[in-house]
């Protein structure tokens, strides 16, 4: 069976006002307070296009390697629903603003981060369209409460061709898109706040045969659920077909509690949207430096080249730069970019410490990040600042404490009691033993107490040396420099 997955992603444009009206865009506000007469679809109102929304769509199109259409058109898509007061949505069905792009993303083979594969998904198009209002269903009183605050907010619909084959690929592609949108600033793309909504189109077929009937899966609220929903739907279709059943071309909702997809009630009949050109809006014309007319008002011009020149480094470029600049591994760069603020934290530590970035990254990804995850903290909420961590790493570099001791200091620092690393080292007496004679005595004591191990080492089993080093560390409560200990032990054992 070959599963086929395509995605339709709606990203809310990050702008002050709506796509066709001057009312404010804000997630939380008193019901119907961010609604203009146009948003409420009162007669006599007309759409006026927001330039910022056009720029956001052009930026996104360029970042996704699309051809930006210098002339695009607006259309009306008709359907009846309480949160769509006009009875139609203004969208771009015939000629959208951008077409034929691509998005590269990485997936891990067998869940091993060290084995990452790059995949590409084609972007069919990006179109500008209006968001609808919100319906709150009150089943007890058999009514729907409608809040139009969201009605008319600008959306970019990004259509991804069915080049993906499973939940993991779908989630990875959306994650990369999310990072790109956030880097561009064209959308904040926070799924939990409805700024990024994903619908999946899923079908299965046998290799060599034509594509199977596809279903649309909606109501997916997180990347994790996206992967689950897609994988569940693939399985469901395979089982259905293997049992001799057929797949209906229907819309299904993902039930996150049950982890399955169910048919959606209101969407059973095939929709006929009766698309027609939006008569109140002329074509949207975009310019580049060549086609720019000489005496046009700045404010009325969207120049594709001008936007292209100002695109920030995309995530893939940022990762490559991190790998090159700091000598870290590609999978490290993925983790750095994946956590909000982590790259900045890492770079801040690097500038404040003598420790090489290749060593610093271990502390960031293994110690800092795992602690943050355990306590569900974001990087910004970290009780250990980059300054403190750099301070700690410097103590290791100056050979004042061992790595093991440093880990102890770190767990103290997490408590956020305002102590410096040095304070804690002194308090817990974690300084490395500087007195060579003292160390030699301890080493000798350990050697004297471990006859069997000593014989094994002298017989050629070098690995047992590590056990002796460990015993010395235990004796010194982690205050011995392991490199020095090894040297001393080896010297003594060869005597």
């Amino acid at each position: 069976w070959v599963p086929v997955v395509g995605l339709e992603i709606h990203a809310q444009i990050s702008s002050n006002s709506k796509l066709f009206s001057g009312s404010q865009v804000q997630f939380v506000a008193p019901p119907n307070s961010l609604v203009s007469f146009f948003d409420a679809s009162l007669p006599g109102t007309l759409p006026v296009l927001n330039r910022r929304c056009v720029e956001a769509a052009v930026m996104t199109g360029l970042a996704l390697n699309c051809s930006v259409n210098k002339k695009s058109l607006f259309d009306r898509k008709h359907y009846f629903y309480a949160d769509l007061p006009a009875g139609y949505q203004i969208t771009q069905q015939r000629v959208p603003i951008a077409v034929n792009g691509s998005l590269s993303y990485s997936v891990c083979i067998d869940n091993k981060m060290s084995q990452m594969v790059t995949k590409t998904v084609r972007i069919k198009q990006i179109q500008l369209e209006q968001d609808s209002g919100k319906s709150l269903h009150d089943d007890t009183r058999s009514q729907t409460l409608v809040d139009l605050n969201r009605a008319g907010v600008g959306l970019m619909e990004v259509v991804m061709e069915p080049d993906m084959c499973c939940g993991e690929e779908a989630a990875a592609a959306v994650r990369e898109l999310q990072l790109i949108l956030q880097t561009l600033g064209s959308s904040q793309a926070v799924m939990a706040e409805g700024q990024l909504r994903v619908d999946a189109n899923v079908s299965v077929h046998h290799p060599g045969e034509p594509y199977g009937v596809r279903t649309e899966v909606k109501n997916i609220n997180s990347l994790r659920f996206l992967a689950k929903a897609v994988d569940y739907e693939i399985q469901r279709q395979i089982e259905e077909l293997e049992n001799g059943g057929t797949i209906l071309n229907e819309t299904r909702a993902f039930d996150s509690k049950l982890g399955c997809t169910v048919p959606m009630r209101d969407k059973e009949a095939k929709q006929d949207y009766r698309f027609m050109p939006e008569p109140n809006l002329p074509p949207l014309i975009l310019y580049d430096t060549k086609s720019l007319p000489a005496n046009m008002n700045h404010q009325q011009v969207v120049n594709i080249d001008w936007i292209h020149e100002r695109l920030p480094d995309l995530p893939s470029v940022k990762r490559a730069k991190l790998v090159e600049q700091y000598g870290i591994l590609p999978e490290h760069s993925f983790t750095l970019l994946n956590e909000d603020g982590l790259t900045e934290f890492f770079e801040n530590v690097v500038t404040q410490t003598q420790m090489k970035p290749k060593k610093v990254i271990g502390w960031i990804l293994k110690d800092l990040l795992s602690y943050l995850k355990q306590h569900s903290l974001t990087v910004k909420e970290s009780p250990v600042s980059s300054f403190l961590l750099a301070d700690l790493l410097n103590l290791i570099e100056k050979k004042e404490i061992s790595s093991t001791a440093a880990k102890q200091v770190l767990s103290e620092l997490w408590k956020g009691e305002g102590k410096t690393p040095l304070d804690i080292v002194k308090e817990k007496k974690l300084e490395l033993i500087q007195d060579q004679k003292e160390l030699e005595e301890i080493c000798q004591a350990v050697i004297d107490g471990q006859e069997n191990e000593v014989m094994a080492i002298k017989a050629g089993n070098r690995k047992v040396l590590n056990k002796l080093i460990g015993l010395v560390q235990r004796e010194t409560q982690g205050r011995a420099n392991p490199v020095l200990v090894k040297q001393l032990l080896e010297k003594k054992l060869s005597e």
Binding site: S23, S33, Q143
Partner: protein, 108 residues
Amino acid sequence: QTVTVEVLDHLEHLALVDFRDSEGVERLQKAIQFADQLHEVNTDGIEPMDSVLEDRCLYLRDDDVTEGNCMKELMKNAREKVEEYFVAPPGNIPLPKLEEQDAFLQSS
């Protein structure tokens, strides 16, 4: 070419319009015939025009907040409201199927 019952039913569902009786259907039929006169124009090789505004410049607005905050005024139009929400029926109320048409018409 006449308007079939199936097409009529489909149109009524899409547009939530009720053609009600044979006079209404007649009128619809005549409207279609009137519009069909457009076919008499030879449009070979001509780009379709979908708006008389096609040569106009699409005005671009600055991204400033200039509207909104008029909940009370908007609510004046609401037949029913709950706190500051508009009230609507629970879902789309489906029109009765073809077979039930007559009973529906009689009862309204």
